[in-house]
């Protein structure tokens, strides 16, 4: 018997004694095996963002037996999440539970043998390294490129692999970053593209559930490769799926020889502090969100995009709309006022969803 046969035999023998193991079908896959399963059980996976991508990823990783699953999201469950965010139910939305806590409550009923950590916080320069601490891999369920650029810097800085993923409308894309081995996000996307997300978000142009499921499954598979130590097997291309047009494209992602992040190790976003500044107005339930001077907002695009789904008033000086029970006013330079809250995290979340960020 060769080594693998011996391992299979030992595993089969063990299953006979104790009944089929929870991970039997996974360990039977030759790329995993008992040794791979042990590595998965010793891993810490961070899922950053618990929307459609993040809940699907967390579900797959919890069931796969990741040792510690750290789930991060600043938001609270809303009814419009239920169409695709697979760990939440109507009760979570009715109670406005924090997504990280609702996800863990659900996953605990799926797999109570692994460790969970909930972080109800924003991913920003002061939190991202704490969120990443001790991670084997980070899987991206974020909704904006600025946060991804920040995650990229932090992961490169600490040598932690991460798997990018995004889905919108009928298309999605993904890439895997193994610092020092593959291209990093900054190698393939210019700084300007990472500076801000256009107001094209799930809230404004929608997203199909199958798209995010598809991307998330790919990401979870990449994360498993990293956790079992098969880093050479990760996909080195930027992969793009268009599920309505039946297109799949693989674009080679080459390391940039002068990449500021993974070659020069300049971590500008990590070092420059919070980008979006918020101020609560004295004694009022209004939060003002002020982007940096470098922020470029396409005011016409914002108006047109929001108009597709919301009643928007606009007069050249400002755009006003109501979404998620909050009135919002946005000015051409990106400054916004979010009414009905004094909570800066909630204001940032609404800003991210409807203006970009």
């Amino acid at each position: 018997m060769n080594e693998r046969d011996t391992e299979s035999f030992a595993m089969a023998a063990a299953n006979t004694r104790t009944g089929a193991s929870r991970y039997d079908r996974q360990t039977r896959v030759k790329e995993i095996g008992a040794a791979g399963q042990a590595r998965i059980a010793a891993s810490v996976a961070v899922v950053a963002g618990l929307g459609a991508l993040g809940t699907t990823i967390a579900n797959l990783l919890a069931r796969a037996g990741v040792g510690t699953l750290r789930l991060v999201d600043r938001d609270f469950v809303e009814r419009s999440n239920l169409q695709r965010q697979c760990l939440y139910d109507e009760e979570d939305a009715a109670q406005s539970r924090p997504k990280a806590e609702a996800a863990i409550a659900r996953l605990n009923r799926v797999n109570s043998e692994i460790r969970y950590e909930a972080i109800v916080d924003d991913i920003n320069p002061s939190s991202v390294e704490r969120i990443l601490a001790g991670a084997t891999v980070l899987v991206d369920g974020l909704d904006n490129f600025h946060a991804r650029a920040l995650v990229n810097e932090a992961c490169v800085k600490h040598g932690i692999p991460w798997v990018y993923g995004a889905g919108l409308a009928t298309y999605g894309s993904t890439a895997t970053v193994v610092p020092g081995v593959t291209a990093c996000l900054r190698c393939v996307m210019p700084a300007a593209a990472l500076e801000a997300t256009l107001p094209l978000t799930c809230e404004t142009v929608g997203v199909l559930g199958p798209v995010t499921s598809f991307v998330a499954s790919w990401q979870a598979s990449e994360a498993l490769k990293i956790m079992v130590g098969a880093k050479e097997e990760v996909c080195r291309d930027l992969v793009h799926f268009e599920l309505w047009q039946n297109e799949v494209a693989r674009l080679p992602a080459r390391r940039a020889h002068d990449c500021e992040v993974c070659v020069k190790r300049q971590f500008a976003l990590l070092e420059r502090g919070d980008r979006l500044m918020t101020t609560s107005l004295c004694g009022r339930d209004v939060v003002q969100v002020v982007p940096p001077a470098s922020f470029k907002l396409d005011f016409g695009l914002l108006r047109d995009t929001l108009s597709r789904s919301l009643k928007v008033q606009e007069n050249g000086h400002l755009v006003r709309f109501r979404a998620d029970d909050h009135d919002m006013v946005v000015f051409p330079d990106g400054r916004a006022m979010v009414f009905g809250t004094a909570d800066s995290k909630q204001a940032l979340s609404l800003y991210g969803k409807y203006v970009g960020g």
């Binding site: 004694g283 009022r284 007069n315 000086h317 400002l318 006003r320 330079d333 400054r335 009414f339």
Partner: protein, 399 residues
């Protein structure tokens, strides 16, 4: 966001500063960079001279009894906390005014919880102090009267001389919060009978932010809470009891104090009465411009402002949004909301939404007032469309 071109938020801090203030601060750091009172070398002595000169400037501008009792603080709040918490004990009886800023109201609230008996005098319907009620309260026994000189919301002025006289008749000490008046209204501590005066350095006195003063008359023993390095009596375990060291533990903000001294000299030179009258005249012009605009409501002493502060609201346009539009689309800086003075807003009927507050400073002009009036007219007229208005904003603000 472009820099505001019309600055109308001088009640928060005056801006710009007079040129000599910038120069004095620069020189303090470049040329007189020693630690004052801590050594005999020339840089330390030079810094000490800057501080003592500024102390004399502040004494002079308020006609305080002595320069030793001019204590430099971080700001007006710091000065008020030093005085209130260093003087008022459990069981003491305190009468305060109806328009107080949180820098008076909050320390008094915690002193009340610690056992002081604090009562608040009423306002009249004309947004001034009800002197009859104040007399009644004092008649019931009072140890300290604590009041603001000028409301930071309405600009209405307290009759300081009368208040001090009533307080003294009852044997009480009078503590004045001069946050909005110092530098804009002439204050003679001796003539008016002010026992302690707290003032910011960065408002009417035109100094930099991070400066303030507590000025005491001779007989008020304020207990220090900040003890430590003083440069004198170093062998003693006790913090010095002598003023100003008693209340000035630690290294002072020398560049700030140098700037404050320059600001005081500037404002004296310009003439406090002249500056104050000019600010009030601009405020009257502003009220004159705003009053005819449909949907604009002015709060406080609408007919004839006594100082450079005017509060208003545009019907159907949230005050925070009004402020943001003024900044974004017109480059005009004002402050909106409750201005850290909820009691004043309750007294004038603008709680909880607050108001848009315009506060004029020594460098404002008629053109600034005209720019604001024109912008408010636009916004009240719907700002091109009715987009900026609507009841939604107000409904949202109450959620």
């Amino acid at each position: 966001m472009s820099a505001p071109v019309v600055y109308l938020d001088n009640a928060a801090t005056t801006w710009p500063k007079p040129e000599p203030v910038y120069a004095a601060m620069d020189a303090a750091m470049r040329e007189h960079g020693g630690n004052p009172g801590r050594a005999s070398h020339r840089l330390s002595v030079a810094a000490q001279k800057l501080v003592e000169d500024a102390r004399q400037d502040v004494r002079r501008v308020f006609n305080a009894p002595s320069a030793e009792r001019v204590v430099f603080t971080l700001n007006c709040t710091d000065a008020l906390c030093l005085a209130l918490k260093g003087l008022i004990k459990p069981g003491d009886r305190v009468v305060t005014g109806p328009f107080e800023h949180n820098s008076v109201a909050r320390p008094l609230h915690s002193l009340r919880r610690a056992g002081a008996a604090v009562t608040q005098c009423q306002a009249t319907s004309g947004a001034s102090i009800d002197l009859d009620h104040f007399r009644d309260l004092c008649r019931q026994g009072v140890d300290y009267v604590v009041m603001s000189h000028v409301s930071n919301v309405t600009g209405c002025m307290t009759p300081v001389g009368e208040i001090a006289a009533i307080a003294h008749e009852r044997g009480a000490s009078f503590i004045l919060d001069a946050a909005q008046s110092a530098g804009s209204v002439e204050i003679d501590m001796v003539r008016l009978g002010i026992d302690a005066l707290a003032a910011p350095g960065h408002k009417g006195l035109c100094g930099p932010m991070g400066t303030g003063v507590l000025v005491l008359s001779a007989n008020l023993p304020v207990a220090p809470f900040r003890e430590g390095g003083s440069g004198i009596d170093s062998a003693s375990e006790e913090h010095p009891q002598r003023y100003p060291w008693r209340l000035e533990g630690g290294t002072l903000n020398v560049p700030g104090i140098a700037g404050l001294g320059a600001g005081v000299r500037f404002i004296e030179c310009a003439g406090i009465r002249a500056v104050g009258e000019r600010e009030a005249a601009l405020a009257r012009a502003l009220v004159g411009g705003l009053t005819p605009i449909d949907g604009v409501r002015i709060f406080g002493s609408a007919a004839r402002p006594e100082t450079g502060v005017v509060s208003f609201r545009i019907d159907g346009v949230d005050v925070a949004l009004t402020g943001a539009i003024l900044d974004e689309s017109y480059g005009i800086a004002v402050r909106t909301g409750l201005h850290c003075a909820p009691a004043a807003h309750r007294a004038i009927g603008s709680f909880p939404e607050g108001t848009v507050r315009v506060s004029l400073g020594p460098f404002n002009s008629e053109a600034d007032v005209a720019a604001l009036v024109s912008a408010v007219r636009d916004i009240a007229a719907g700002f091109g469309t009715r987009c900026a208005s609507g009841s939604n904003a107000r409904a949202a603000s109450r959620q």
